[in-house]
């Protein structure tokens, strides 16, 4: 079952197209990785999922219901942190949880507060005011607030920002626990592939508001498949050959250059097809990993 179904959403801020015709689906119980550089449109997309920003066009369904028409019903089952962990500096961690539990009409016992704070490693700072917290601690508290009402869908926007390596590992473990042990659907964004690839079962890369690549993380990171760049004097012709042949499924979206994620054993066949079709090949360059591809598409385009 689709927990999130986004269809052709766009968001314009004046002349700037922050999100451009983006579509994707997130299945129940999945950890969905949403990857992109800073300013790629991740947070705008997440804000649209939380009804904080109105899409310029397109539709969003969560739990099979239109977000535009069933907003409150949907948000009852969603917990989120969005970008920075901004909180009330004059309240303690414990008070934050009690406050947001009250907003969600949840009666929360002190033990449950303590338990939630323990989950994120803040149990020993429960009564301290947030103004004394480091960025990492605020981030953990933000996650605790997102979990306080036991939501079905958890949206985490850059949850490891400001955390030290131990904190990053803790958050990773927490995401895995939430997904595997509690059956939650987790939508997690990051600008670091290395972070996402360790937790996400599905991956989407966004750049300049557009979807660049989407797929199963294992599949995308499959060592049996290589990311290759076709270098030729005529990219148009090379593309035509690929689309017409049996390689179109391997094509990766890219504004410039021709990239494919292709099983290693098919690279010679691809080479042969291109030469036969008269493509003046300069080379077929193999990229080492999805990270190379991610870095390349997000650095030059």
């Amino acid at each position: 079952m689709s927990v999130i179904k986004v269809q052709h959403i766009s968001k314009n801020f004046g002349a700037l197209k922050a999100v451009d015709d983006l579509s994707f689906e997130v299945q129940e119980g999945q950890v969905f990785g949403f990857l992109g550089q800073n300013g790629s449109g991740k947070s705008t997309t997440i804000r649209m999922l939380l009804s904080l920003i109105h899409p310029s066009s397109g539709s969003i369904e969560i739990f099979g219901k239109s977000l535009a028409h069933h907003r409150n019903e949907i948000l009852e089952q969603v917990g989120a942190i969005i970008e920075r962990p901004d909180l009330y500096p004059y309240l303690s961690a414990q008070e934050h949880l009690q406050l947001f539990a009250k907003v969600r009409k949840q009666k929360i016992e002190k033990a449950a507060v303590q338990n939630t704070l323990e989950k994120v490693g803040l149990a020993n700072r429960a009564t301290d005011k947030v103004q004394t917290f480091s960025l990492g601690m605020k981030q953990r508290l933000g996650i605790a607030i997102a979990l306080v009402h036991n939501p079905r869908l958890i949206i985490l926007d850059e949850p490891t920002n400001g955390l030290d390596p131990q904190g990053i590992a803790d958050i990773r473990r927490l995401i895995q626990y939430l997904s595997k042990e509690e059956g939650k659907t987790v939508f997690v964004s990051s600008h670091l592939l290395s972070e996402i690839e360790q937790v996400a079962s599905q991956l989407l890369i966004i750049h300049k508001g557009k979807k660049m690549v989407e797929g199963n993380t294992k599949d995308l990171l499959d060592p049996q498949k290589r990311i290759v760049q076709i270098k030729s004097t005529n990219d148009e012709l090379a593309l035509q050959v690929i689309v017409a042949g049996s390689f179109s499924n391997y094509l990766l979206p890219r504004k410039e250059g021709v990239f494919l994620k292709i099983p290693t054993y098919e690279i010679p066949l691809l080479n042969e097809s291109l030469i036969k079709a008269g493509v003046a090949l300069l080379g077929i360059e193999t990229k080492n990993s999805l990270e190379d591809y991610f870095l390349q598409i997000t650095s030059n385009v």
Binding site: R47, R71, L75, Y88, Y90, L99, K102
Partner: protein
Amino acid sequence: MWSLISVELYKIFRRPRTYIAFGAIAALIVVIQLGLKIDGNSYAAFLMKDINDTLTVDGKVLNGYLICYILLQLLLVHVPLLVALIAADMLSGEANLGTLRLLFSTPYSRTQWVFAKFIAASVYTILLLIWLAFLALFVSMWVFGTDDLFLMKSNYVVLIEQNDVLWRYVGAFVFASFSLLTVTSLGFLMSSMANNSIGPIVGTMSAIVFFTILSTLNIPLFTMVKPYLFTTHMNNWKEFFDIKVNASNEALYGSILNIAKIKNSLWVLTLHIILFVSASIIIIKKKDILS
């Protein structure tokens, strides 16, 4: 809805800034009361100097009721500025802090949040007014005692029997609550348009000063708009202290000279409150939360 209001009240009263206004009012009132306690008789003599030849007043002119009237005249001009400190920060302060997105991603409509915040800001305003009433009226009554209320108007004097005064203050404070709620709603409107606290606070204060100047200027062009300005009506709590007289020029117990003026002012203020809050809701509903 109640849970949202209680959450907003909790946040208001956990912020140190909230108590600045309570402290400022207490400081001002205590200073004035102290001054009048020490040198009140000279002040009373100064007030009475023009009528001493024609009128003899028995009893205690400088009593708790008069002190309260003097305090209200002085303070009800400044209290709106203190109200603006909180009201104009209710939405923009959260936007500035980045917590507005936390609130607006909960299963409540933005209209519900705006209402809850407005009600919480209104509770703060009313509490501030009750604090003002307690210090200005009850503490003054305790410190200075009570007697008939003797007021000097621009071209006449008003003498109200002491047992006809207290209910007038109740009326005046209820009226003042409408005036201050108008300021609260104006601050709220300013707050809905900005993502930082300073702009709306300064904006609200500037709007009050600007419209007060328009309300007091007797230029024909402005005379046309005066009846529609909230600042024209904010000080009409004084109407509770204008009393009807009979043919022998004796005050009529329990009367108000121009009750229609009070009713009209209450209507104008209420309409302003509705207008400002509705505009805030429309702005917030359309707003993309980018902070």
